[in-house]
């Protein structure tokens, strides 16, 4: 259980920084990429496209059908499906 909490970023006291899946973020929110949990090849590809730990990502808009979602990272706009974004864990920054 302890490992599970620390995996989520819980360090004994809830701070403003909790880990969430990127897919859960509402449009307009900003967060910092913490960790990717995807197959190797895809993970590397995404990291080279900007999804590296500590990168700031913003949810720009959802496609007309509600999925995929457009994310801004490093000034680029990249669209990901929900199933991919849910494997990208982010730390939501306070006030964002």
């Amino acid at each position: 259980m302890r490992a599970f909490w620390s995996y989520l970023g819980y360090d004994g006291a809830w701070t403003a920084q909790t880990l969430r899946a990127l897919s859960e973020l509402a449009v307009g929110k900003v967060a910092v990429v913490e960790h990717l949990d995807l197959p190797d090849a895809m993970q590397h590809h995404l990291m080279h496209m900007g999804f590296t730990p500590e990168a700031r990502v913003m949810v720009v808009r959802r496609a007309p059908a509600g999925d995929p979602t457009v994310y801004a990272i490093d000034g680029f706009e990249i669209a990901l499906r929900r199933e991919t974004a849910k494997s990208i864990l982010v730390r939501q920054t306070e006030g964002a």
Binding site: H45, H48, M49, R61, P64, P68, F76, A79, R81
Partner: protein, 632 residues
Amino acid sequence: MSSCCTTDTIELPQQPRVAGKLQTVALVGPPNSGKSTLFNRLTGLRQKVANYPGVTVEQHLGRMKGIGRADLVLIDLPGIYSFDSYSEDARVAVDVLRGEMPGTPRPDAVLLVLDSLHLRRQLMLAAPVLALNLPTLVLLNMTDLMESRGGEVDTLALAQELGVPVAKISGAQGIGLNAIAQFLNRRSEPAVETTQAPRLELPVVGNARSYRQWATGVSSRTKYKAPLSSEWTRKLDGVLLHRVWGPLLFLVVVFAVFQVVFTLGNPLSDAFGNVLYGLGDFVGRFLGDGWLKSFVIEGVWRGVASVLVFLPQILLLFLFIGVLEDSGYLARAALIADRFMKGIGLNGKAFIPLLSAYACAVPAIMATRTIENKRDRFATILVTPFMTCSARLPIYILIIAAFIPNRPVLGDLLGLQAVAMIGLYLLGFLAALGTARLLKSSILKASSTPFILELPQYRMPTARGLALRLYDRGKLFTKKTGTIILCATVVLWILAHLPIHATLPDSVIGRLGHWIEPAIRPLGFNWKIGIGILSSIVAREVIVGTLGTLYGADPATQALHLQAALRHDLTLGGAMALLVFFAFAMQCTSTLAIVRRETNSWRWPALQFAYMTVLAYLGALATNQLILHLMR
């Protein structure tokens, strides 16, 4: 398959290089960095497109005439994010740069293009490229845009950080190209070699994280200030990707394209046709009245000209596709369509090959290489030929113009002919979807694969870029008309005139036609249409040439234009059935050959051919019978 090879004499130098002498230069850069525009600037119109041996990644070569260095060959490498072999593209680019690509010598110098609007991420590619230790010039592209939006970068500091020269350019405006010329000229003189500044630290561990840290460090040390993101792009996306307006505008765009292709294309095509036929008549006057005139004018010229007249419509269609693609709208269209594509079991990425199949299925099938999952990729390959390619346009336009009155449907905005055309495009699209669904729920079942798509900023398409596309397309179409279609019409004319002195129904072709007629009569086709269909197994446009030749050889219809001859000879049911037949049938040997190559087996193209032919026959049968029933 040789349709994409030009007659240009751009050869890669194979002899051992002379010390310090430049021969080949490679152009490297991430996707959307403006590499292709720059390539066109540097090489001008004469470039060679071929495939790398063993893979279907295209190889673009050109002599650097744009900067007065026709002695240098420029290789345009596929756009890559990193040296990771995520895709076939990346593998090819890395192999060429390392000199491991058979048939391509290791480049003597590298031009690394980086989009200065997004320098921080783009610099990540600089690390592995610089580590190759080739003479490199870093080009910061689109600096005009960056500076106008308040961005900054210290190029001198950047050059020091990277240990290689850096130049600000704008490929779209043609600014800063002399820096490239200078770099190459200096490189050509052996005297100044080996005076390079010691290179600063490159990341030792080659992973994304360390590259990113390095790139972030470099960009902050060089005082890089990212420009404000384009207000325009955000605002336009607010509308074009809007929940309601987005899909609606998408449909409006599609309808508008077809309406313009008809209202503007038809008069152009008619005028062009008059010129072509007039030219034939003019030449005919010098040929006397014997068999020579019959062969050259009624046989060959009529056949070729009846296909060639569609050049204006095809160019118009490509102009629109070019505007949509160059402006960045196509990526948005893929985004809008992804949910839908997912619903039928295809990857959103399949949307781009399917869309480019509106031009031609051959490059579209090659473009499926970006789909990582093999089953997804095969399913996409198998449905691609249902998309309405430009080779179907001639027969569609011919039949629609001959049989469908151009009554207004929505006031003056939309005519019945355009609606019929859109209906045919829709029919092909639905057939593709239905087939995809069928394949994905049976023989090609697989879990879904990711959809990762970068949305480029909107850009104004340049006249230069569009002109280049039209030139390429026009050349390809004219070339096909001059080769495959010319051959087919010659053979046909000969068969229509053998044995000597036989009338058309008694000729070899007439007898063959009458022999197959019972099989196609229920579809509402006569024997001439049957011959047209048989001859168009090579390529779809051939049917129009064949009909031109056959009706030209028939005394009853000789004096008529092809449209009038068809109206005289075909029922409405038969005409509509013919449209449906062409919407479904697999009439293209080039496509079959590429499917064979891509799937590495004859099984798939055979299955595809059989399935599509049966569907075409049944579809045409149903259409004709339905119309017969309704008109009774």
